[in-house]
């Protein structure tokens, strides 16, 4: 049995990715497959997890996947809020979409003998689809680096599952991503020894029934919805006159009324952009989170 865990955000097609891979294996790849989402109560932008199981025998196990053989991450900004390595088996595979080279020592946390592949397909998706949706690209990347499912099977499953008007563009994207991934070298094949990244899964045998823990993507009773954000509002203090129109419109109550200047509570701001749209002085700009963490935020927001 091979178990794959997919990480992405609501709206990025994570659940569809898990399904395309499963369908390709089950209908065109001669295997048994099972795919399922783990939905939270969240919406667009929230971390979403989905799973695919592949096997030569019928699959009866219906518990969640705790020790995946492979983890696919569709959005590198998730690394800051989600432990994507949780339970990853030694000798497993990590496939990451992103361009950043240093993810706070991600390489040092990898379980023993992890094959780590990193590729950047968001710009490719933007170019071909016009939107940063990378699910078909990442399914293809996984097919290229693992050979678990024949490439032709993936293409047929994409055709079956996507609405007809999206098929042609996505097949072009998938084709390009697949061929780029074939040339991909492992970023690192860790030898282990650094820490115990999958220790969370190890102590779990023979759990008493009252200790069961569902695999929650976010602890939603105390949801820090700021982790859902892929764009951040940045206020230009030179333009803002504290009129508080943004405060009136913010659906999350994330605008703070300060002594000197209005500010944003980034713990809860989901990055919906309503404040930027409603600001009468265009003092708020939406900036990609991925760029902000590289210290580019103010320049990109045009603030001098």
């Amino acid at each position: 049995m091979l178990q794959i865990r997919w990480h992405g955000r609501g709206g990025q097609g994570v659940v569809t990715a898990a399904r395309i891979f499963g369908r390709a294996a089950a209908i065109y790849g001669g295997k048994y497959a099972q795919s399922f989402p783990y939905f939270g109560t969240e919406r667009r932008g929230a971390p979403v997890t989905a799973f695919t199981r592949l096997s030569e025998q019928p699959i009866r196990d219906r518990s969640q996947v705790y020790e995946p053989d492979c983890v696919v991450v569709l959005d590198e900004t998730l690394l800051e809020s989600v432990d994507v390595l949780q339970g990853l088996r030694p000798g497993g595979i990590l496939v990451l979409n992103g361009s950043r080279t240093n993810h706070q020592g991600l390489k040092f946390k990898l379980p023993e003998n992890t094959a780590f592949y990193q590729i950047e397909v968001t710009s490719l998706a933007q170019e071909i689809l016009g939107v940063p949706i990378v699910n078909t690209a990442m399914v293809s990347v996984l097919a290229a680096v693992t050979s678990w499912v024949p490439w032709e099977a993936i293409k047929k499953a994409i055709q079956d599952i996507l609405p007809s008007h999206l098929v042609e563009k996505n097949l072009r994207l998938a084709e390009e991503a697949f061929h780029r991934a074939l040339a991909l070298r492992q970023v690192a094949s860790s030898q282990g020894g650094e820490g115990e990244p999958n220790s969370k899964s190890k102590g779990n045998l023979h759990l008493p029934a009252d200790n069961l823990q569902p695999n929650l993507p976010t602890p939603h009773l105390v949801a820090r919805t700021g982790s859902w954000r892929i764009q951040r509002p940045v206020i230009d203090p030179w333009k803002c006159n504290d009129c508080l129109i943004c405060w009136l419109f913010c659906p999350e109550g994330s605008i703070r009324r300060g002594e000197s200047c209005t500010s944003i509570d980034l713990t809860y701001c989901k990055g919906c952009g309503i404040c930027a749209r409603e600001c009468p002085r265009q003092a708020i700009h939406m900036v990609d989170e991925a760029l902000i963490s590289q210290g580019e935020g103010e320049r990109l927001a045009g603030i001098s």
Binding site: F36, F39, R60, R62, H206, A209, L212
Partner: protein, 375 residues
Amino acid sequence: MREYLNGNEAVAHAVRLARAEVVAAYPITPQSTIVEEIAAQIARGEMEAEYIRVESEHAALAACFGAAVSGSRVFTATSSQGLAYMFEMLHYVSGARIPMVMAVANRGLAAPWTIWADHQDSVSCRDTGWIQLYVETAQEALDTCLQAYKIAEDPRVLTPVMLCLDGYVLSHTEEILDIPSQEDVDRFLPPYRPQVLVDTRRPVVFGVGAGPDIYPSFKKAQQEAMERAKEVIKRVDEEFYAFFGRRYGGLVEEYRCHDAEVVLVTLGAITGTAREVVDSLRREGAKVGVLRLRALRPFPVEDLRESVKSARVVAVLDRNCSFGYEGVVCTEVKAALFGLKQPPSVIGFVAGLGGQDIRKENIEGIFRSCFNSDV
């Protein structure tokens, strides 16, 4: 046709194949995609049916009631709070002996609010006079939906069927299944021909008032129909097997129970995980088995007694709780075994409430604690 679908889509295909003519439903997670898919099939012209959008679940079942007494095969689906909202109509439908099928994508009940799976919603409707069948796979959801129409419409039964599938664990999980052809289904399931229907030329009344003199006779008839349903459920499962090559044990499905010292009784999808555990414990030499109750109503007393006759301990895994007592299935099992000369001891486990994942380790722990118990 070999397909890769989730449980909800499987049910939607079954409803199309059963040629349901009226579908009235109100959306609720995790059921919604069943009726969304049905609506899409009607819109694409693949299914000939009237889809009625209603303002509530209570209205959905009322609309189905009306359509059914005028001679239509009907379908609806719901979950959790929606089923709770239907409660009044559940009794109306079963009391008036309307044969219909309703899918329940099982979900826990608020508060605290949840969208995830447990059986509290349908188990709370145990006494509403509906037949309740719980399924283990998407394939079984499809197959049982077809069987359910045949069971409900059998003149000896005339009782509605609740088709229960675990929310998400079945409703949103894709797997391989076979979709039978329309021709084969038509041969298995003939058109609905009610014996009595609302007709302006020959007026009849459904849901009439009944005084203390005759009310009990209606209820006695319902109880007798439920008893007869036991045989009909088994027979329909065998007929289905003759047509399609798949069967599910009728009222109960045994897995390695014949010589088992410990038998775990389950409902629904968790049985698959339990089978894995049974196989691994059997490899260690432990005599364990799983007994899946496919029917909760009518309750399979005789089949249950037969299946656990070698058992020293019967464990019951309940994804529900009757607060102030224990898991409902546990109580049912105890009652069914009462009066046997040497009954096995029964130990109840409540787990998996509100979507809490039940892992292989947990089920293994249940078996081990039963072996270690002094009872």
